[in-house]
C-alpha cells in the first residue's frame, strides 16, 4: 500500500537523520571508546533522575489535568496556554526564574525567614527534580488534558445516567492508554538534561551523560567518546520508548458527536475544593517563576539593541519553518514504529547531532549557509516525538470510529486525510503545531556550531548579552522570547480550537 511505503520511507529518513550523524561522529572519532567510572556514575544519575522526574511530572499532572478538564472558570483557556510556557523557556532563563522563587534569596525564603522557619535549600537532587517537574509538568498536563477532552460527551452522559464510577469506567482506561507514552517522552527529555541538573543539583554529584558529552567534545575533543555516550543515550531512549509503547493500552474511546463536553461528576464540595487546590497549586508553581522572569525583563525591554529584534525575527521564521517540517514528517509517522523512530531524535545529544551534521555537510557546503535549515531540521526532529504523542491517540480514535465509513466511501490517501483525519485531529494538530513552534523558538540547538556572526537566533543572543555583562538587556530579551513563544503557541493552539467544542 502506498501509504505504508510513505511511512516506511519517512521513518527511515528520520532514523537516518539521527543515526547517520552519530555514525559520522563515531567514524571521525575512530570508533567506540570505553566508559570510565565517572561515566557510569553519570549514567546512573541520569537514569534515576529522569525516571523520578517523569514519574512526578506525570503523577502530578493527573489531578491537575482532571481538575482543568472538569471545571470551567473565567480565564481557563488563558491559564492553560500560560501554563505551557515553562516547557518552552530557554534553560538559563528558567533557572533564574526558578531561583527567584525557590532560591536562597527567593520568594519562599523571604516568606519563611520572618516566621522563623528553616530556610529552604533548593540545591541538591530535589532541586533537579523540582526543575524538571517545572519544565515537564506543563507538557504532561497538556497531554493528559487532551485525553480527557477526547472522551466523547456521550460517554460522560452514559456514565452520569448510570451513576457509574467515572474514574474506573472512563478515566482510568484513558490514562492507561496515555500515561506510558507521556512518561516515556518526559523520561527521554530529562535524559538530556545538563545545565539544569548541574546548577540545581549543587555540583558534580548531579553529573549527567550530556555533561560528559560536552566535556568530551569541548575539552578533550574525544569524538569517539562523545559518540559512544550519544549511543548510550540512544539506547536508553529506545528502551524507554519501546517499553512505553508496549505497555500503552490500545483501546480507543469511541466516537462521539462534537457536543460540548458537559460533566455531571465532581459536584460535591470536597471535589470542588480539591480541584481548586490542584489548579491553584499548578498555576502558582508554574506561573510565579514566569512572573519573576517577566518582572526582571520588563525594564530591559526598552533598551534592547536592534540585533535582538532581528534575531527575534529570525527565530520566528525558524520556528514556523520547523513547525511545517515537523507536521510534514509527523503525518506519515503516526504509527507505533514511527513513534519509535522519532524517539531516536530526542534521545540523542543535540551537540552530537549537530557535530555529525557539520561533519557530513562541511565538505559540501559552507556550514554558515545552511545554519538555519539545519537548525530547523534538528528542531523538527526534536519536536517530532511530542507531536506524535499528541497526535497519535486522536488519529487512532478517528481511524477506529470513521475508518470503515471512509473505506466504504472509497476515501484513500490524501482525500482520506483531508476529509476525515485532519479535521478529526484539528485540536491536537493546533496544539502540536503550537508546541513545535514554541519549542523551536527557545532552542539553542546546533546553531552554535553553524552560526556565523550575523545569523544568530534569539536564545543565542540572550547568551551573548549575558556573556557581555548585559544582564538587564538579556532579561529583556528573555521576556521577548517568552512572549513570542507564548504568542506562537497561542495562535496555533487557538487555530486548532476555533470551531471545536470546549
Amino acid at each position: 500500500m502506498a501509504s505504508r511505503v510513505v511511512t516506511i520511507i519517512t521513518a527511515l529518513i528520520v532514523a537516518g537523520m539521527v543515526l547517520v550523524p552519530v555514525a559520522a561522529v563515531l567514524w571521525r572519532g575512530g570508533g567506540l571508546s570505553g566508559l570510565g567510572p565517572g561515566d557510569w556514575a553519570a549514567l546512573r544519575f541520569t537514569i534515576w533522575q529522569a525516571a523520578l522526574s517523569a514519574l512526578l511530572s506525570v503523577g502530578l499532572a493527573i489531578p491537575v489535568a482532571r481538575a482543568l478538564a472538569r471545571r470551567s472558570f473565567a480565564g481557563r483557556s488563558a491559564l492553560i496556554a500560560l501554563m505551557g510556557a515553562p516547557f518552552i523557556l530557554p534553560v538559563i532563563v528558567a533557572i533564574l526564574g526558578l531561583l527567584a522563587v525557590f532560591g536562597g534569596k527567593g520568594l519562599i525564603n523571604q516568606l519563611l525567614a520572618p516566621l522563623g522557619l528553616p530556610r529552604l535549600d533548593i540545591y541538591g537532587y530535589h532541586g533537579v527534580i523540582l526543575a524538571h517537574v517545572f519544565f515537564n509538568l506543563p507538557l504532561a498536563v497538556r497531554l493528559l488534558l487532551q485525553g480527557w477532552l477526547a472522551i466523547p460527551a456521550e460517554r460522560f452522559r452514559l456514565a452520569a445516567s448510570l451513576n457509574a464510577p467515572l474514574w474506573r469506567v472512563l478515566e482510568l482506561p484513558m490514562l492507561r492508554q496515555l500515561l506510558p507514552g507521556a512518561f516515556a517522552v518526559i523520561f527521554v527529555i530529562c535524559l538530556g538534561s545538563f545545565a539544569v541538573a548541574l546548577t540545581l543539583g549543587g555540583g558534580p554529584r548531579a553529573t549527567t551523560l550530556e555533561l560528559a558529552i560536552y566535556q568530551a567534545f569541548r575539552f578533550d575533543f574525544d569524538l569517539g567518546k562523545a559518540a559512544t555516550l550519544a549511543g548510550v543515550q540512544l539506547c536508553l531512549g529506545l528502551v524507554a520508548g519501546g517499553v512505553a509503547l508496549r505497555f500503552a493500552a490500545r483501546d480507543g474511546m469511541g466516537a462521539g458527536l462534537d457536543r460540548q463536553v458537559a460533566r455531571w461528576d465532581g459536584a460535591a464540595t470536597v471535589s470542588r475544593v480539591m480541584d481548586g487546590v490542584w489548579i491553584a497549586f499548578a498555576a502558582s508553581f508554574l506561573l510565579v517563576p514566569l512572573m519573576a522572569v517577566a518582572l526582571a525583563g520588563a525594564p530591559g525591554l526598552t533598551d534592547m539593541p536592534g540585533v535582538v529584534w532581528s534575531a527575534a525575527g529570525r527565530s520566528v521564521l525558524l520556528a514556523l519553518g520547523a513547525t511545517a517540517l515537523t507536521l510534514m514528517m509527523a503525518l506519515p509517522l503516526l504509527t507505533r514504529a514511527g513513534e519509535a523512530a522519532a524517539l531516536l531524535g530526542i534521545s540523542v545529544s543535540g551537540l552530537v547531532l549537530g557535530t555529525g551534521a557539520f561533519l557530513l555537510l562541511q565538505p559540501i557546503v559552507r556550514p554558515a549557509d545552511v545554519a538555519l535549515p539545519v537548525t530547523m531540521l534538528v528542531n523538527a526532529l526534536m519536536a517530532l516525538p511530542f507531536v506524535l504523542r499528541v497526535l497519535r491517540p486522536s488519529l487512532d480514535s478517528a481511524r477506529q470510529d470513521f475508518g470503515r465509513l471512509g473505506a466504504a466511501l472509497g476515501l484513500r490517501g490524501w482525500p482520506l486525510w483531508r476529509v476525515v483525519y485532519l479535521p478529526r485531529m484539528r485540536r491536537p494538530l493546533g496544539f502540536a503545531a503550537g508546541l513545535t513552534a514554541a519549542l523551536s523558538m527557545g532552542d539553542l540547538g546546533v546553531i552554535m556550531l553553524f552560526a556565523d556572526g550575523d545569523s544568530s537566533t534569539l536564545p543565542l543572543q540572550i547568551y551573548r548579552l549575558m556573556g557581555s555583562y548585559q544582564m538587564e538587556a538579556a532579561r529583556g530579551a528573555a521576556l521577548l522570547l517568552l512572549s513570542l513563544s507564548l504568542g506562537l503557541f497561542w495562535v496555533f493552539d487557538k487555530g486548532g480550537r476555533a470551531s471545536a467544542d470546549a
Binding site: D258, G410, L411, R412, V419, R424
Partner: protein, 229 residues
C-alpha cells in the same frame, strides 16, 4: 444476486461458514447475538477477510475488492456521518472528492428531499436528531447509487415508531431504485415488516434463504431457541 460461495471466516476461535445465494430484493440476517450476523455483513462489505471461498455479485468475483470498489452502500450501527462536516459535505462524499458541482448540489438536495430533510444542507450532524441523522445517512446511500444496500442495525437506537418509519423508507427506496438490501436484525418483526426473505445465522453456519413469513411460521431449531418459542 449475491452469492456466498463456500465461504469460511475465522475470527479467533470463532468460525463461520456460508454457502448460499441471496436473491430476494430485501434479505434479513436473523440469529442470536454473537452468531456472526455482523461478521457476515462485514464479509459482504469487504471489511472482514475470508479464509476461503468467494463473494460473487451477479456472477462477478468481488472477494478481493476494497469496500469502496464493491457494489455496496452501507449503513453502520453508528458513526454514519462525519461530525465535522455539514450534511451537504457528508452527502457530497458519495459523489465527488472535490467540491460538489451545481448539478451535484441539486442531486444532494433531491436526495435530502426524498428522505424528508429538505433544507438541512448546511446543518452539522450534531444539530440533527437521531432519526434525522439516519435519514441523512440513508440519503447518502441513495446518492451512492450502488445496487446493494447493507444495513447493520442502523436504526437500533430509534424508537419503535421511528424505526418502522425508517424501515418503510428503506423498503420504498429499494422499490423505487431497484436496489437490493441485506439487513441484520435482532427483531423478527423488523424482518417481517420489510424483508422478502431471511436466512438464519447460527452455530457457525448460514441457512438457505426462505420467505420471511414461512420462516417465522415454522422456525428451525436454532431460530426457535432465539425466538423463545
Amino acid at each position: 444476486m449475491l452469492t456466498l460461495d463456500q465461504i469460511t471466516v475465522e475470527q479467533g476461535a470463532f468460525t463461520l461458514q456460508a454457502d448460499t445465494t441471496l436473491g430476494a430484493p430485501i434479505t434479513a440476517l436473523l440469529g442470536p447475538s454473537g452468531s456472526g450476523k455482523s461478521t457476515l455483513l462485514n464479509v459482504i462489505a469487504g471489511f472482514a477477510p475470508v479464509r476461503a471461498g468467494r463473494v460473487l455479485w451477479r456472477g462477478q468475483d468481488v472477494t478481493h475488492y476494497t469496500p469502496a470498489a464493491r457494489p455496496i452502500g452501507m449503513l453502520f450501527q453508528d458513526n454514519n456521518l462525519f461530525p465535522h462536516l455539514t450534511i451537504r459535505d457528508n452527502l457530497a462524499l458519495a459523489l465527488t472528492r472535490t467540491r460538489p458541482t451545481a448539478s451535484q448540489q441539486v442531486q444532494i438536495s433531491g436526495a435530502l428531499d426524498r428522505v424528508g430533510l429538505a433544507g438541512y444542507e448546511t446543518r452539522k450532524p450534531a444539530e440533527l436528531s437521531g432519526g434525522q441523522q439516519s435519514r441523512a445517512a440513508l440519503a447518502r446511500v441513495l446518492l451512492q447509487a450502488r445496487p446493494l444496500m447493507l444495513l447493520d442495525e442502523p436504526f437500533a437506537a430509534l424508537g419503535p415508531a421511528l424505526k418502522h418509519k425508517m424501515l418503510d423508507l428503506v423498503a420504498e427506496i429499494c422499490r423505487e431504485t431497484g436496489m437490493s438490501a441485506v439487513m441484520v436484525s435482532h427483531y423478527p418483526a423488523d424482518a417481517l415488516r420489510i424483508a422478502d426473505a431471511a436466512v438464519v445465522v447460527a452455530d457457525g453456519s448460514v441457512t438457505a434463504p426462505l420467505p420471511t413469513a414461512d420462516l417465522m411460521q415454522d422456525p428451525p431449531a436454532a431460530l426457535r431457541d432465539y425466538l423463545g418459542v
